[in-house]
Amino acid sequence: MYKDYYIFSNGKISRKENTIYFEDKEENKKPIPIEQIERLHFFGEIDLNTKFIGLISQYDIILNFYNYYGYYIGSYLPRKKNVSGLLIVKQSEGYIFHEKRLFFAKCFVESAVFHILRNLRNYKGKTDEVIKEIEEEKQNIFKAREIDELMGIEGRIRKRYYESFSLFLNNDFGFSKREKRPPTDPLNALISFGNGMMYNTVLGEIYKTQLDPTISYLHEPSSKRFSLSLDIAEIFKPLIVDPVIFYLINNRMLKEDDFDIEEGICFLNDEGKKKFIKEYQNKLETTIKHRSLNRKVSYRTLIRLECYKIIKALIEDEPYKPLKAWW
């Protein structure tokens, strides 16, 4: 069983034979058995060396780095050993041919909106109005002819969705609208942090397949980010991140003092991050019975299965049908 390890303290990380040790400033040494790591997340300041990089590369472990505010800085990805030239050609074809690109982009938005509505239906009575509005806007997805149009529709739906949070959260921390750069209130900080985690989780799953994370359909392929991860994350943000946020707030597990505000930037402090990550991990590991596989799969595995379905569509094996949570 592979796991994600999160390190919040400052310190250094070293290797001794097949074990990795984390040593904090007080010289407390903690071993992390390498066979059990899938990804390492560094939230603190960490010293590390090439001997360590060498070992984790052998085991295909991904390193993710975050800054002081918990924002994702970047990753170290070991050299990829499973590549498929054919698939990259097909993936590019999917971008170049407008109809193909538009189809994938619509699928991602359609699935995202499906999961958004699924969340809102959990708070019936409070959200009827917004559900109706989103359902109307949703019809435009199928009519859209351009990616910009689709992005516009998605943006409007998301705006309405976020605005409705205060209707069913028992503490909205003074939230009024979505603000990203930078978040200035706790709920925005939480959404940003959660979406960042999702981006990383999806990237990790893409990395296990032969898909190239830079070639994307809804988002413009970008040189700054792995935009395919953003595409697929659209599907999973409302399915995984948002329910975790609702759960933490409505059960009063996250409170004002789990957030800090510095120079107008609001962010989760270490305690807050730990609370979020714990629930987020629980969610990822939750299993459901998969209908076509006829076996139990975790939410995390669902992300990889989504990659598989995209691959199958690209190699003209099976048309793509996005996930729509059925349980």
């Binding site: 499973n82 054919l86 698939l87 998969h290 076509s292 094996d317």
Partner: protein, 172 residues
Amino acid sequence: MDFDFEKYKTQGIKVNYYYICKRKLWLYDKGICFEKNFDRVLQGKILHKNAFQREEHKDMLIDEMIKIDIVSADHIKEIKISSKMKNPDIMQLLYYLFYLKQLGISKKGTINYVKEKKVVEVELTEEDEKEIKSALINIRQILMMKKPPEIKKLPYCKKCAYYEFCYAKEVD
């Protein structure tokens, strides 16, 4: 029959996969493969490393194409984890024997199911040669296909590293 071996020669694993699943063969050839994160494959690797440690000629790469587990004076040996896929294993070994014959080397072979302490002796007959030739021709045809062969439900699908890939779909 005139058979241009140079045109048809391929890796041993592809002959093995040809007898297991044509779709797996196609996907593997295109680099869309899933062996890496699969426990059973890892098991095989470890077994491979530990078996026959005293043998001199292990993992011989021949003609930069086929990799034979063990080569001794009159035998070649293949190490396999379980005898569940006996026929594909035998065909793979027969292919190696056939390959060596094209290079003017004549040997016999054994498949060693180390965990089961079982050894299967294999000798190349004329009949086998015919079978191998037609398999090689078919393999080439499959690999030239523009898209993967369709799923064919087989009793061992559920244990395959490609299972989730093949069977993940949305049910209405």
